[in-house]
Symmetry: none
Subunit: 368 residues, 2 copies
C-alpha cells in the first residue's frame, strides 16, 4: 500500500490585512497565481533640487521623503524590474495590473512592464481638475498623471466590465482620459499635527473607477505600495478583498484606522449592469464615483417612492432596476421621467434633488 505523502500546503493568503516590510520580500513570500488585480503607486523618483515658493512667497511642501530617493536611473530600473517580477508571479493567469506614475518614472515603468511579459491594454490619463500650477511660468502646468493597465500576458482573459464603465460615463464608452479632482478636504488623511499623513494620497474616485472596471466582487486586489490605504478602503467599500504591503509604520497605522471606519456597500448595490441595459443620458454614476452619493444610499421620489443607489450608477427600485430616469418613470407609470429632478436625497434633514449634485460637477467641468 502506497503511503500518501501530504503535499506542503500553500501558505494561506493574508486577506484584508496590511503586511509590514519591503514589498519585494513580502511578495516573494506569498503564494503564486493567487491575486486577481494589482494596483501599484510606486515612488516616482522625482529629482527635486532646491526649494520652490509660490508667488506669494509661501513654501511648497515638496515630496522629499527618503523613499523617493534613488541614486540613478539604473537603480530605479532595477527596483522597478524586481518588484514587477515579484508582482507578476503573484498574479493569476488572467490577472492584471495598474501602475500610476508621472513623466519622471512612467516611461521606465512602461518599458519594464513590456520587457517582463505584461501586455499593455491601455494607458489611462488622470486629468486633474485642480492641479498645482507652475509657479515660475517655465513649463506647462503638470496637470495629469498616467496609469498603465496591463494583463499578465498577451493571452490573458482579463476582467473588463465594459457596461459598468459605460454606465458610469453617460452611456458612452469610457475613454482613456479620466477627469477627476485631486484628493483634498475631508478625504485627505491628516496626522496628529494636522499635516497631511501621506504626501501623495490618491483620490478614492480614481480607485473606484479602476476596481469597478477591472475586478468583480470577491476578487483579491493587492497593493504593494499601500501608503495610507486608498486601495484597501475602496476595495472594502466595493466588496473586494485586499492585501496591502507597506514599509512605513505611520502609513500602516493610518491606513488601518481608515479602513476600519469604512462601511461596505450593500451587496445588491454591487451588482453592475448587464450588457443589455438602456443608455442613461446623464452621468449619474459620477456622483457615486466621487462619493457624493454612497452605493446603498436610498433616494426618495416626490410621492414617497424609494430606490437604492448601486456602485455603477444604476438604481434598484421595487421589482425594477435601471437608470434614474427609468426607475422614476416606472414608479410614475409614465413613459419617461427626468430622474434628476425626480429623485432626492437627505442632507442635514432636508430633501435635496440629485440635480443639485450634478450642478456641482458641471460647475467644475465647465471651467475647462
Amino acid at each position: 500500500m502506497a503511503v500518501r505523502t501530504k503535499l506542503p500546503e500553500a501558505p494561506a493568503l493574508p486577506l484584508n490585512q496590511i503586511l509590514a516590510g519591503d514589498c519585494i520580500d513580502v511578495m516573494r513570500s506569498l503564494p503564486e497565481a493567487s491575486v486577481d488585480l494589482i494596483f501599484a503607486d510606486p515612488p516616482y523618483n522625482l529629482q527635486l533640487k532646491g526649494e520652490l515658493h509660490r508667488p506669494d512667497n509661501s513654501r511648497v511642501d515638496a515630496v522629499d521623503d527618503h523613499w523617493d530617493q534613488f541614486s540613478s536611473f539604473a537603480a530605479y530600473d532595477k527596483f522597478t524590474r524586481d518588484w514587477l517580477a515579484a508582482a507578476r508571479r503573484l498574479l493569476k493567469p488572467n490577472g492584471a495590473i495598474w501602475v500610476i506614475g508621472s513623466y519622471h518614472n512612467i516611461f521606465r515603468v512602461g518599458s519594464a512592464l513590456q520587457d517582463a511579459g505584461y501586455w499593455i491594454l491601455n494607458d489611462v490619463v488622470w486629468r486633474k481638475s485642480n492641479p498645482m500650477p507652475n509657479f515660475r511660468g517655465k513649463r506647462l502646468t503638470n496637470a495629469h498623471e498616467t496609469m498603465i493597465w496591463a494583463s499578465k500576458s498577451e493571452a490573458a482573459k482579463y476582467t473588463f466590465n465594459y457596461d459598468a464603465l459605460k454606465a458610469l460615463n453617460e452611456g458612452v464608452q469610457m475613454r482613456s482620459d479620466w477627469v477627476l479632482p485631486i484628493c483634498t478636504g475631508h478625504e485627505r488623511l491628516k496626522d496628529a499635527n494636522g499635516d497631511k499623513a501621506h504626501p501623495t494620497q490618491k483620490p478614492e474616485s480614481l480607485l473606484h473607477r479602476v476596481l469597478v472596471g477591472s475586478t468583480n466582487p470577491g476578487d483579491v486586489v493587492l497593493d504593494p505600495f499601500f501608503g495610507t490605504g486608498t486601495t484597501g478602503a475602496v476595495a472594502k467599500m466595493l466588496g473586494r478583498q485586499f492585501i496591502g504591503i507597506e514599509r512605513e509604520d505611520s502609513y500602516r497605522e493610518a491606513a488601518a484606522q481608515r479602513i476600519a471606519r469604512v462601511r461596505p456597500y450593500d451587496a445588491s448595490a454591487l451588482e453592475t449592469s448587464g450588457s443589455k441595459r438602456a443608455e442613461p443620458r446623464v452621468p449619474f454614476g459620477q456622483l457615486v464615483e466621487r462619493g457624493m452619493l454612497r452605493p446603498g444610499e436610498v433616494l426618495v421620489g416626490p410621492r414617497g417612492s424609494t430606490a437604492k443607489v448601486r456602485a455603477d450608477g444604476t438604481l434598484v427600485g421595487d421589482r425594477m432596476t435601471g437608470s434614474i430616469h427609468q426607475v422614476g418613470a416606472h414608479y410614475e407609470g409614465a413613459p419617461s421621467c427626468n430622474g434628476w429632478t425626480y429623485w432626492h436625497f437627505k442632507r442635514e434633514g432636508k430633501m435635496v434633488p440629485i440635480d443639485f449634485l450634478r450642478q456641482q460637477i458641471r460647475a467644475e467641468l465647465g471651467e475647462h
Copy 2:
C-alpha cells in the same frame, strides 16, 4: 609669409527642403548644433494581429504599412536610440525636442530620451475630441496620444513662450493636456484614389501649439519623420524654417505640394504676447535721478511697513538698508520679494505701486 589655410566649411543647412532618405543617415550628414527644435512622429511599433472589423463588418483601415513593422522590442529600441542620438547631435545647446507616440512605443521612447541625456520638461497629452471608438468593447476607448517635450540637456535654456500659450488658453496657464480634434475633412490629404495619403496625419492645430510655444520666428525646425509635412506646413505659416526628412517618395511629393500652397502669416501676426522678462531693465535709482521720487520720500508696503528713499536708490527701513527687493524681503521674512510691486507711494491721496513709474520710463524708451 605664412599661407593662410582655409578651414573646411561646414555644409550649408538645407533650409525649407524635404530631404530624401533614411532619417538616421541624413541626420548624420547635417552639421551639428544647427537646429533649434525637432518634432518627431516616429513609427509606433503597433503590434496588430490580423484585421479589425467594425460591428457592421466593415474593415478598419489599420496602420499596417511596412515602415511600422519591428520584429521585437530590442529592434525598436535600437532604432529609437540611434535616431535620438543623431537628432541630439543636430540640436543647438539650448535646443529641444518633441516626440509623439502611443502606449505601444512611448515608454520605449521616453526611456531612451532619458538615457540619451535629454531632460524631460513635460509630457503632454493630446486628448482627442473625436477618437475612433473601441469597436469590440474589450478596452477603454483609446482617446489620447502622448507627447514628450525635452531639452537637449538639463542645463539647456530652452525656449518657452509662456505668455503666448497663456494667451492661447484664455488667460490661464497652458496645461499638460490639450484637447484638439483629430485631422479630418479638408485638412486631411487624399491621394489620387481619394484615400488618405498618410495613415497618421497629425492635425495642424497640434503643431501650431507646439511651435508657438517652443520656437521663435526664424528658428530652424527639423522633422525626421516628415510624412506629409504637417510640421513644414505649420512652420511656414508661422515664419519658422523647416527641414524635413522622409523616405517614401509619395509622402515627399504630397508634402511638397501641400507646403507650396501654404501662405505665411503676416510678420505682424507672428508677434506673440511678450514676457516682462524681455523688457529693458530699469534700475530703481533712475526714478530718483529723474525726480519721479524725492530722496527722503517714504514708501509703504502692503501691510503698512515703511521705508525711506535715499539719493542713491537704496531704501532705509527698520534697522535695515538695501535695495527695494532686499528691504521688502526683510520685512516679509521671505527669501525674495519683487520690490516693484511691493512698495507704493502716495499721489493725490492714492497709493500707487512704484512699478507705475517704471512703466512710464519703459514707455519713453519704447518710443525711440
